[in-house]
């Protein structure tokens, strides 16, 4: 199991990350990748600023990935979460998972995204096209509900 967790200001290259997860492997049957991008919300935003808690962000993502590894037979997992100011169209987060089979890769990716949203210490703030600072984005209750799908059962 290869595990990569990075919290960084710089952009990332999805192809490079998938290549790193699959290079030389012969047992990977499924790669699932999710990329979250900054939307302009109908032209209203000039970007999103992401604040994070250095140290805890990495540690918490690492714990979430460890939980995914315990639940599904994964061969590799890469999570990259950016911070700083990200323009519309810019990449915010990558979750990429490899497994022998599709169902595990899919479920783990979905799980990781749910828990990144509710547990990883990042906070988004809107930057408006008129040059002013918009509000901090409020946590969506649907994100909490999505995360509770995985408990019990």
């Amino acid at each position: 199991m290869s595990r990569t967790v990075r919290v960084q200001r710089e952009d990332f290259d999805v192809a490079d990350e998938i290549e790193a997860l699959t290079y030389g492997t012969r047992d990977v049957g499924a790669v699932t990748a999710f990329v979250g991008l900054c939307r302009d919300e109908g032209g209203r935003l000039s970007g999103l600023e992401l604040e994070h808690y250095p140290g805890m962000a990495e540690a918490e993502i690492d714990r979430v990935v460890a939980e995914a590894e315990a639940r599904w037979p994964l061969l590799g997992a890469t999570v990259i979460h950016r911070y700083g100011l990200i323009p519309p169209g810019g990449q915010i987060v990558l979750v990429a998972v490899t497994s022998s089979h599709r169902a595990a890769a899919f479920a783990a990716t979905d799980f990781l995204m749910d828990f990144l949203k509710t547990r990883a210490p990042f906070w988004k703030r809107e930057h408006l096209v008129n040059g002013t600072l918009g509000p901090w984005i409020e946590a969506a209750t649907e994100d909490d509900q999505a995360a509770t799908r995985w408990s019990g059962g």
């Binding site: 979250g36 992401l50 604040e51 994070h52 808690y53 140290g55 805890m56 540690a59 918490e60 979460h81 915010i92 987060v93 995204m113 990144l116 949203k117 509710t118 547990r119 990883a120 210490p121 990042f122 906070w123 988004k124 703030r125 901090w136 984005i137 409020e138 946590a139 994100d143």
Partner: protein, 83 residues
């Protein structure tokens, strides 16, 4: 003991972090919040709605009843909106 604040909580408190000497009768996260609210209006405003305050001790999420004993760094922040 070090306290750190993030997002609008940091803005309301007016600083990203601070060192405090914990009073003897403050033993849980909830106690600490109550004590901070009593310090001045900034803290009172920052912590006015405890439903939307999250806390971590040494980089691990904790509930309000968590004990502070042995903690090096307590963090307060709003619900996360990453991902």
């Amino acid at each position: 003991m070090k306290l750190v604040y993030f997002a609008w909580l940091r803005e309301r408190v007016g600083k990203p972090d601070e060192e405090i000497d914990l009073p003897a009768d403050v033993s849980t996260v909830a106690d600490l919040i109550a004590w901070l609210k009593g310090r001045d209006e900034r803290y009172e405003h920052a912590f006015e709605n405890t439903d939307v305050i999250r806390a971590a001790i040494d980089h691990v999420h904790v509930k309000a009843h968590a004990a502070l004993a042995g903690a090096r760094e307590i963090a307060f922040f709003p619900p996360m909106t990453g991902g």
